[in-house]
């Protein structure tokens, strides 16, 4: 029962993340998702033990507090508030999120998973979280939203790992978490620098770095 509610909450945060244009709000949602993800291992483990609690505390601190603070800081320095023109409009993002969920349920039902899997809902939900994160990366323009998408995707991977908590050593998760930490740092710094160089954090500008010369800045014939 409790796990179902947590999982539902996870899904709602997914929808909230794709539905909202305000970046501060998005960060809060991702933070909330981090907290939910953090609580999961305690419940999944089923009995009172030190290991899941340590993991939970660590995850909640990193995902629920540190990352959001970092992101909030880079948001402030980059001075953006909104994702103005996403590649996929918000109503369709919501519908896509639902479709992703349906798809991942289908995928989940196709996988043959070990019987000890806790909470049959967790796997499809983890799948859909991963895919929602990817969708966010693909469909948004601002670098910060893409970082958020990355975080959501990581949350999904983590949730998938949690489902395997009893079989798998948690080292894997810790490794992933460390990866993430570095990645967010790098991205935060990158965002900071992009915004300082270009006055905004629109990733379109990065297109200019490609070999192909974009049409709009092709050098015109000098007179």
């Amino acid at each position: 029962m409790l796990i179902n509610i947590l999982i539902t909450f996870l899904l709602i945060t997914n929808i909230g993340a794709v539905a909202s244009s305000r970046l501060t709000y998005c960060i809060k949602i991702v933070a909330a998702q981090g907290v939910v993800i953090g609580i999961l291992p305690c419940i999944i483990y089923g009995e009172f033990a030190l290991l899941p609690i340590v993991i939970a505390i660590f995850t909640i601190t990193v995902k629920g507090i540190v990352f959001p603070l970092l992101l909030g800081w880079s948001l402030k320095t980059a001075q953006v508030a909104r994702e103005v023109e996403p590649l996929v409009s918000y109503p369709f993002s919501i519908i896509t999120a639902v479709l992703i969920f349906i798809l991942s349920f289908w995928l989940g039902s196709r996988l043959s998973l070990p019987a000890s899997f806790c909470g049959y809902l967790l796997v499809p939900v983890a799948f859909s979280t991963i895919m929602t994160g990817l969708f966010l990366i693909v469909s948004r323009v601002k670098a910060l939203t893409q970082v958020l998408g990355y975080l959501i995707m990581e949350n999904g991977i983590y949730a998938f790992g949690v489902a395997l908590l009893r079989e798998q050593p948690l080292l894997v998760e810790l490794g992933v978490l460390l990866d993430m930490f570095v990645a967010v740092f790098v991205m935060g710094i990158a965002i900071f620098h992009i915004s300082r160089e270009f006055d905004h954090i629109d990733t379109h500008v990065l297109d200019n770095l490609s070999d192909r010369i974009p049409t709009d800045i092709r050098p015109t014939e000098e007179t």
């Binding site: 029962m1 539902t8 709602i12 929808i15 539905a19 919501i94 519908i95 639902v98 809902l121």
Partner: protein
């Protein structure tokens, strides 16, 4: 049977109290004293005493609309589940009729607004009908979920067979219903009931030209609609039936009151959404209902 009949009479009498509660909550939040709780009753009394002014452009649809809307609401009051999830009339398939009766009401509201030829009312009507395009499927998906959950096809059949075990699904569905409830009743994130002169309003602007008894009927119907759709939300949030009529009645009524309280709080804390954002909100409601359904199917 008796208790259900009592409920219907109670709804007819007490419905105008709900806007009073909402307004009082808003006033408290804003640090004002606020209007009396019974303000709508005074308004209705005043309006019924007045005469009416008709626009020269109008035909009889102008005044038939509100009357028909009220009659249709009274019809839907027969099938809506109230305390204990019971309704006066119950038959498989009343879900569909229920939703469609609201469609009829909307149709008449729009036609009677368009009858004046006012561009303001046209604007309101256009928005009202647009939001229905998103709200109606969402409402149906929510109902499908509940129908599947309880294997029942009548509203009261569904609402009387809930239990706490359906937690997740009920939570999602009632969230979806709450969004639809706010949209259909033209409450805050969708429509601002306080003003009617802004070009952004929907329901209030549709009744701009109505006056006297017609306006009284419109106000009364609006509060009744609040009650009826509110009972759908309350029934899903509090799926509790003790079996004791008095207890259940109290639970239901306090649920309705709490819902008005919640609406008041939402209205005090939120700004109205941009009009372009409203479909997004309704689609989010649709998504919630859809999630509930997927959970139910799995």
């Amino acid at each position: 049977m008796k208790s259900v009949l009592l409920n219907i009479i109670l709804a007819l009498i007490a419905a105008p109290l709900l806007p009073g509660i909402i307004n009082r909550v808003k006033a408290v939040f804003a640090g004002r004293k606020g209007q009396p709780l019974l303000q709508l009753y005074y308004d209705l009394h005043k309006l019924l005493k007045k005469s009416a002014v008709f626009s020269s452009a109008t035909t009889f649809f102008f005044w038939v609309g509100p009357l028909a809307g009220f009659a249709v609401l009274a019809g839907s009051l027969l099938v809506v589940p109230q305390a204990q999830g019971k309704s006066l009339v119950q038959f498989p398939g009343d879900i569909i009729l229920f939703v469609y009766l609201f469609g009829v009401m909307r149709f008449f509201a729009v036609v009677s607004a368009m009858d004046t030829g006012s561009s303001f009312e046209g604007m309101g009507a256009s928005r009202e009908i647009q939001f229905a395009v998103f709200a109606e499927p969402a409402l149906f998906v929510g109902l499908v979920t509940l129908a599947r959950k309880t294997a029942n096809l009548s509203l009261s059949g569904i609402y009387s067979s809930f239990s706490w075990h359906d937690g997740t699904i009920l939570m999602l569905v009632s969230a979806a219903f709450f969004i639809i409830f706010l949209a259909e009743n033209s409450r805050l994130p969708v429509d601002d009931p306080n003003t009617h002169l802004e070009l952004t309003m929907i329901h209030e602007v549709m009744v701009l030209d109505h006056s006297g008894p017609d306006l009284a009927i419109i106000f009364y119907s609006a509060s009744l609609k609040l009650w009826i759709l509110g009972s759908l939300v309350v029934g899903a949030i509090i799926p509790m039936h003790t079996g004791n009529i008095i207890f259940d009645e109290l639970i239901f009524l306090s649920g309705i009151a709490a819902l008005s309280l919640a609406v008041g709080i939402v209205e005090s804390c939120m700004a109205r959404l941009k009009l372009l954002k409203v479909p997004q909100l309704l689609i989010a409601g649709f998504a919630l209902a859809m999630l509930a359904l997927i959970f139910q199917i799995m």
